[in-house]
Amino acid sequence: MRTLLLALAMLVGLGLPALAVDPYEQLADPVLEARARELSTGLRCLVCQNETIDESNAGLAHDIRTLLRERLVAGDSDAQAVKAIVDRYGEFVLLRPRLHPATLMLWFGPGLVLLLAAGGAMAWLRQHRREARPPIPLSDDERRSLQTLLEEKQS
C-alpha cells in the first residue's frame, strides 16, 4: 500500500512543471522564502517576456530572484522589494499592471468594446423589430383581383 502511494505521488510529481528556482537560491527562512515565491509569480522575466521569474530558467530571471530575496532579507516589505525591481525595469515587469491613466485602456478596453458591441446589437435588434411589423391587410380592390386570379387558375 505504501509503495503504491509513493508511486502515485511520484506520478503526480511528473505531471507538475519543473521549477526553475534552484535550491541554492532559496532562503533558509521558510517564511521569507514563501514571500519571495509569492512575489516571484507576479514578476515578468524580461528575456522571455511571458514567463514569470518564478518559472523562467533565464539568467536574468535568476538575477531578479536573487535581488528580490536580497531585499526581503534586508527587511523590505513586499511593496518595497517589488519597487526595487520596478525602479530598474519599469512597470512592464509587473504581470498585473497597476491602474493609472496610461493603463486605463488596458484595464477597461475590453469592457468598452463589449459595451460598444452590446449597443450595436441593441440598435440592430430594435431596427429589425420595427421592420417586422404585421403586414398591411389587402384593400377591397386587391382582394377582388386576387379572387379573379385564383378563379382563372382553377378553371
Binding site: 524580461l46 539568467g59 525602479d87 525595469y89 512597470e91
Partner: protein
Amino acid sequence: MRKLIYALPALLFAGLAFYFVLALQPDYDPHALPSVMIDKEAPAFSLTGLNGAGISRDGFKGGPVVINFFASWCVPCREEHPLLMRLAEKEHIPLYGIDYKDTPEAARRLLGEFGNPFRAVGVDADGRAGLDFGVYGVPETYVLDGSGHIRKKFTGPLTARQVEQELLPILRQLSGGAS
C-alpha cells in the same frame, strides 16, 4: 450620420494599417522596452578594470560618456563591434565598456581579435552593475551626461542610423550646452 457609419469599417482599417506600417519599420523592435532610468541618476558602480584602471560612476562626472554593456558570448555584440570601432576612431566619442557576465580572459580575447574601441573596460562578472542599470540583454548602450544622469538608452546592437540620428546629436548637445 448614416454615411459616417458606413465609412467606419474603412476608417478602422486605415487606423489599423497605420500601426501595422509603423511596426514594419526596420528599426522597430517589438521586444524593446522603454527604460525607466532615463533622466535618473545612473546607479553607483565601481568595477575593476580589464586592463589597468577600473571605472566607476563617480569617475565619469564632468563630461558626457557612452557606456556599452557587452560580452564575449554575445553574438549581436560582434555585429555591433565595427560600428563601435568607427565611433571611437573617427568620432572620438568617450566610449567605455562594461563586460557583462563574462570572464576577463574571454573579453581580452574578443578585444584582441576585433580591436578595442573602449577607453576603459570594467568587469561585471556577476552582472550586478547590469542588474542595477536594468540591463536585460546585451548589447545595451547608455549615454550619461556630465552630472552622471542617464540621458539615453539603446537596447540591442546600435545601427548606423541610430548613431547618426540619435547618439551623435545627443552627445553634441551634451558637450556643447550646459549639462
